[in-house]
């Protein structure tokens, strides 16, 4: 199930939003009748600020939104796009749902795994790449589809994957 990730890792240092992020949070809050409703968007701000959401960041969000820290942790572990530990500079997301599967998506995953020497969920030692498998990302007509951070790359084959991995900074 979606929420099969149970813990939020500590960063070992306090999380404090920079002023620009706090301004964004204020703006977000003005769009909702409750503070709790701002939770998902504020968690997005946290992830954009630090690249992942540490236990300290989650507690800071809880404080700002006046929510129990356990509620924030519950929400964080439910949604797959929040990174609960640091990820590489490029988050490689391979879709392996049915249309991409029919187009051989697993072959891409296998190839990437061999090339980078990491497993699904793993990060290269230089911190450049993290690779994960995702469910349908609505790129089915250009299967197999994948995303790198927030951008789609489709359709992919072994050559275009090699080219992509070679050009990402």
């Amino acid at each position: 199930m979606t929420g099969r990730r149970y813990s939020v890792a500590p960063a070992g240092r306090p999380a404090e939003f920079p002023p620009a992020a706090l301004e964004r949070i204020e703006k977000i809050l003005s769009r909702y009748p409750t503070k709790q409703a701002a939770l998902l968007p504020v968690l997005w701000v946290a992830q954009e600020t630090w690249g992942w959401i540490s236990r300290e960041a989650a507690e800071e969000v809880a404080r700002i939104l006046e929510l129990p820290a356990a509620h924030v942790a519950g929400v964080l572990t439910f949604y797959t796009m929040y990174n609960l530990e640091p990820v590489g500079r490029h988050l490689l997301q391979f879709c392996t749902s049915i249309s991409c599967h029919l187009a051989g998506a697993e072959g891409l995953v296998e190839h990437c795994r061999n090339r980078l020497g990491i497993d699904l969920g793993g990060t290269t030692p230089d911190g450049k790449f993290t690779m994960v498998e995702v469910e349908c990302i609505a790129g089915c007509d250009r299967a197999p589809s994948m995303m790198v951070n927030d951008a789609y790359h489709e359709p992919m084959d072994l050559a275009s994957l090699d080219a992509l991995l070679g050009t990402l900074p």
Binding site: M1, T2, G3, R31, Y32, P33, T34, Q36, A37, A38, L39, L40, P41, L43, W44, L65, L67, H71, G74, V75, F78, Y79, T80, M81, Y82, T96, S97, I98, S99, H101, L102, A103, G104, A105, E106, G107, L108, H111, V134, E135, C136, I137, A138, G139, C140, D141, R142, A143, P144, M147, D150, A151, Y152, P155, M156, D157, L158, A159, S160
Partner: protein, 438 residues
């Protein structure tokens, strides 16, 4: 009679996302008309009822009737309109196109719908992966505010409305309307027990209507060109309007295609204007007609199969989100079923035991059959598990969706399952390979 695209008419246009080109193409005329004084909110709802518009998100419920469920006296509570842009059903990619290419078409429909519902505030709940779509929408909404189509006293009508884009964060279940509502409230997206229905008690405890992106786009055109015009498009009076079909899998030209509701399946797969036939001249083995949640159809069943709500219900499947996934004769049906089971196992929200435990169990059994370790009793076991998961055993219909591909593939391809168990390998083909299709 040739069909002129309606919903995708502006997709290929230069700068199709900008409000200037949208207005130049007649955009926001429908909103001007509706707010011009001759249309009461009730009259707009009536017009949408007359059009026969049925929800494009999957369930196919008549949109105007749904709107009518909002109580006349809301006891001082606001009414919320939520646009369901969580498009996550495997095989579906039409809303992504609509939002990325023609955002104002949807925004205009959303404002008109909000007027019909007397709603001051609406949200677009867009799946987290649509970073680009969310940025396009944010920009378009800002433009609409600048031009006075959103905000206070729109076009001097006295009607005011605000739209906010709300991004999800990766959870298929948030496409279920009460899961979406929970998520919008800042919680885990676990569906609610119904009743009460959202129209009475929805987001923030207030009356709430959830409509799909394509549904709202249709509203724009219904109010622009009239319910009668809309109702004349389509196979019959119960299946009306233009429709977007998402075609993927082993066809020559996958893509989003617009056609009148009720397009024959064979036309979509083989027509020159659509899929243009099977890749490499292979034969059709099975087709999923409405996304992962829909029962599979065999090659014989698609011979005479209109792609609309009732046409597919007659085949004991469903139009769903109109995601047509085509599998050729080399596809191992057990492998396909296993892949679909993996999806549902991953996406079960976990609150009802039959679904939380049943979906991974189905996946494990299918995985062992596919891997050549199936046991003689496994096919019966799959059916037994399935029958204990659905039909009212859970809060939402996710479990019903999860068992549809399992039961339909067993029912229609039982020999292939049996072969797999007995011979410990696929009857046909092998696992799909990326080189072969690239």
């Amino acid at each position: 009679m040739t069909f002129e695209p309606v919903l995708t008419a502006r997709v290929g246009r230069d700068r199709s996302q900008s409000i200037d080109t949208y207005v130049a193409d007649g955009g926001y005329e429908a909103l001007r008309k509706v707010l011009g004084g001759d249309w009461t909110p009730e009259a707009v709802t009536e017009e949408v009822k007359k059009s026969g518009l049925r929800g494009r998100g999957g369930a196919g419920f008549p949109t105007g009737v749904k709107w009518g469920f909002v109580p006349k006296d809301t006891k001082g509570k606001p009414v919320y309109l939520l646009c369901n842009a969580d498009e996550s059903e495997p095989g579906t990619f039409k809303d992504r196109l609509l939002m990325e290419k023609d955002p104002h078409q949807m925004i205009e429909g959303q404002i008109i719908s909000a007027y019909a519902l007397k709603s001051r505030t609406s949200y677009v709940y867009i799946r987290g992966e649509f970073f680009h779509g969310a940025r396009v929408l944010d920009r378009a909404i800002a433009e609409a505010y600048e031009k006075g189509f959103l905000g206070e006293n729109i076009l001097g009508s006295g009607f005011s409305h605000d739209i906010t884009v709300h991004r999800g964060a990766g959870a298929y279940i948030c496409g279920e309307e009460t899961g979406l509502i929970e998520s919008l409230e800042g919680k885990r997206g676990q569906p609610r027990i119904k009743p009460p229905f959202p129209a009475v008690f929805g987001v923030f405890g207030a009356p709430t209507i959830v409509n799909n992106v394509e549904t709202l786009c249709c509203v724009t055109h219904i109010m622009k060109r009239g319910a009668e015009w809309f109702a004349k498009i389509g196979r019959n009076e119960k299946n009306t309007g233009p429709k977007l079909y998402c075609l993927s899998g082993h066809v020559n030209r996958p893509g989003v295609y617009e056609a009148p509701m009720g397009l024959p399946m064979k036309d979509l797969l083989f027509g020159d204007a659509f899929g243009s036939g099977m890749k490499d001249g292979r034969k059709v083995k099975a087709v999923i007609p409405g996304g992962a949640s829909a029962a599979m159809l065999t090659a014989e069943e698609i011979e005479d199969c209109p792609l609309d709500f009732d046409g597919l219900a007659a085949k004991k499947s469903m139009l769903g989100s109109a995601a047509i996934i085509v599998m050729n004769e080399d596809t191992c049906i057990v492998d396909a079923a296993r892949n679909l089971a993996k999806f549902f196992s991953h996406e079960s929200c976990g609150q009802c035991t039959p679904c939380r435990e049943g979906t991974p169990w189905l996946h494990r059994v299918l995985d062992r059959i596919e891997s050549g370790e199936g046991r003689a009793e496994d096919v019966d076991l799959l059916e037994k598990i399935s029958n204990q998961m659905a039909n009212g055993m859970t809060i939402c219909v996710f479990a019903d969706a999860a068992i549809a591909p399992v039961l339909s593939s067993i029912g229609k391809f039982r020999d292939e399952y049996r072969y797999h168990v007995e011979n410990r390998r696929c009857l046909v083909g092998s696992r799909p390979s990326v080189e072969a299709t690239a």
